[in-house]
């Protein structure tokens, strides 16, 4: 193996320290956390995790989060695919303005929209459902997905489309059978980013839910404020929220650099 410079290693260590500390805390008892300072658990316990996996207020939060994130990823990427194709292949009235308008929505501070969103989704009776959060996250995830996918699609020569039409493929059959597999890497990258931004966002997710669809992260903040300092439990829940992300990164690791390379984030 080639030698690796010290800088990235130090940087990664710096990144891992707070994470380690969180994991460390999650295996400690509340007494140990509050009583002593220790670099690793003196009385190793999985009680915090057991609590999360047995208490429905905890684990349903986990499911709720995964539900709306999954929904949002599917919606965002599915509707972004034909749109990105249109932007990469066709010239049409208002195309450039439309593209820019889409991107401006990536710039809208969620804090600005929190209250109107609450009212809007209450009005259409979607409040406190995963679908509400999934749709709300479309605000910034669709523009993002369109942007990323358009970059990948522009890298596919137009001649591929023409060859397929000449072969006799009707448009949709070509799009699904030929085109989508060709830009599979791009779809992977778009899914990754949609997942990421939906998973990490909390302000809107919290605003649009109360009980039934409460995300795990929101459960955490409420626990922290109502049940006093249950730090171990909080740390365990936090640790668990890192896992899906780590999982997703692992799957798309080879595409990340490429996705970024297109300058489309």
């Amino acid at each position: 193996m080639k030698k690796i410079s010290a800088v990235p290693i130090i940087y990664i260590l710096f990144l891992m320290l707070p994470i380690y500390w969180l994991v460390n805390m999650s295996f400690k008892t509340t007494n140990e956390i509050l009583g002593t300072f220790s670099l690793w658990p003196q009385e190793f316990t999985v009680a915090n995790y057991v609590k999360i996996f047995t208490d429905p207020t905890w684990y349903t939060g986990y499911f709720n989060s995964l539900t709306y994130v999954g929904l949002n990823t599917v919606i965002s990427v599915t509707v972004a695919l034909p749109a990105a194709y249109a932007f990469s292949r066709f010239r049409f009235l208002g195309d450039k303005h439309l593209f820019f308008w889409l991107l401006t929505n990536r710039m809208a501070p969620p804090a600005v929209f929190a209250l109107p969103f609450f009212q809007l989704y209450s009005a259409i009776e979607l409040f406190d459902t995963p679908l509400a959060v999934a749709l709300a996250h479309c605000l910034f995830n669709i523009p993002l997905a369109v942007w990323i996918l358009e970059g990948f699609m522009s890298g596919v020569p137009k001649e591929l489309d023409e060859t397929a039409y000449v072969d006799g493929y009707p448009f949709w059959r070509f799009f699904i059978r030929i085109f989508l597999p060709t830009i599979a890497a791009g779809i992977g990258v778009a899914c990754f980013f949609a997942f990421m931004f939906s998973w990490v966002e909390l302000l809107l997710a919290k605003t649009l839910t109360s009980v039934a669809a409460k995300p795990i992260a929101a459960t955490m903040t409420r626990t922290a404020s109502t049940a006093g300092y249950e730090l171990g439990l909080l740390a365990a829940a936090g640790t668990l929220t890192i896992i899906p992300g780590a999982f997703v990164i692992y799957f798309v690791r080879n595409y990340i650099a490429k996705g970024f390379a297109l300058g489309r984030v």
Binding site: M1, K2, I4, V7, P8, Y11, I12, L15, L17, P18, I19, W21, L22, M25, I75, A80, P82, A83, A86, R89, F90, R91, F92, L93, F100, M107, P109, P110, A111, V112, F113, L115, P116, F117, L120, L135, A136, C138, I142, P143, M196, V200, L203, M220, T221, L231, G238, T241, I242, P244, G245, I249, Y250, R253, I256, A257, F260, A261, G263, V265
Partner: protein
């Protein structure tokens, strides 16, 4: 030659996107605009107020203070994260198994829910039981981010650096990887020193990705809410109350809908304006 074909039916392709985004963007935006020019005392009774709220917000010391804090924060984190990110990207291996290892570990902070980031740093920096707080105090420096404004700022900035530098690293790394090997060889042959290679080859080729990195970091840091809110709650005092935190306090805490809406719009316009200026500069640069 632009080889796109003109095809108005393409609108059908973008229609679902337009509908979904417009639903989320235009209706709430209209609501905000609506509130921003009216006064309510509850019961859905509204009175026309014109631009009063805008004048109030623009003249309020409180808004000025949080805007100033916001600008300082964004300035500081940009000044740290961009050069640091580029420096780290430059030292990353170009190929081999380490690349994946680096990428996976570096991307991790990006995928942690923002309130977990706040909570994590809260635990990490607590003066008594947090590793960071404990270590700093152990060095004889008094440190408590819940009491000292400076410590709170330091922790918030450090947290943001921890959270987002990787984004700059990944972007810069991807930009560097797209430079053909020939350029490095040519520079070697021309006898260029490493600094000249950076200045004349790497930096110019990174310009585009760095513009995007700066733009993104500007936007996201300008909108930052969850992490500092969970970490410091905007305190101590108002010392880390950034624009978004202030806005939510006004809107949901005090339920002052009019001023909050006016503030939202001013806020949104600032972000848009800066991005637009940036975008135009970028495009102009590319045309040259």
């Amino acid at each position: 030659m632009d080889n796109k074909t003109t095809h108005q039916k393409a609108w059908f392709f973008v229609l679902p996107v337009v509908v979904l985004v417009a639903f989320n963007a235009i209706i709430p935006l209209m609501t905000v605009v609506n509130y921003s020019v009216q006064e309510t005392f509850g019961d859905n009774v509204f009175f026309w107020e014109g631009v009063k709220w805008f004048e109030d917000v623009l003249n309020s010391d409180r808004f000025h203070a949080s805007l100033l804090r916001q600008l300082m924060f964004t300035g500081i984190i940009l000044a740290i994260e961009v050069p640091l990110g580029v420096a780290i990207a430059l030292t990353m291996p170009k190929k081999g198994p380490w690349v994946s290892v680096c990428l996976v570990f570096m991307a991790m902070p990006l995928l942690i829910p923002w309130n977990v980031v706040g909570a994590m740093w809260n635990i990490f920096a607590l003066p008594d039981i947090g590793l960071l707080g404990h270590a700093i105090n152990g060095m004889g420096i008094e440190y408590n981010f819940t009491r000292q404004p400076f410590a709170a700022w330091f922790t918030t900035v450090l947290m943001d650096v921890w959270h987002w530098t990787s984004l700059v690293v990944l972007l810069a790394y991807a930009g560097l990887r797209s430079i053909p090997e020939d350029y490095y060889q040519a520079a070697k042959i021309d006898g260029a020193k490493p600094w000249a290679v950076f200045l004349h080859i790497q930096l110019p080729k990174l310009k585009r990705v760095l513009t995007i990195a700066i733009l993104l970091r500007f936007m996201d840091s300008f909108m930052i809410y969850t992490e500092p809110f969970v970490l410091t709650g905007g305190g101590p005092g108002n010392s880390t109350t950034f624009l978004s935190i202030d806005l939510v306090k006004v809107a949901l805490g005090q339920f002052d809908l009019g001023p909050a809406a006016a503030m939202s719009l001013i806020y949104f316009l600032i972000v848009l304006l800066v991005c637009w200026v940036f975008y135009t500069l970028m495009m102009k640069n590319e045309d040259q």
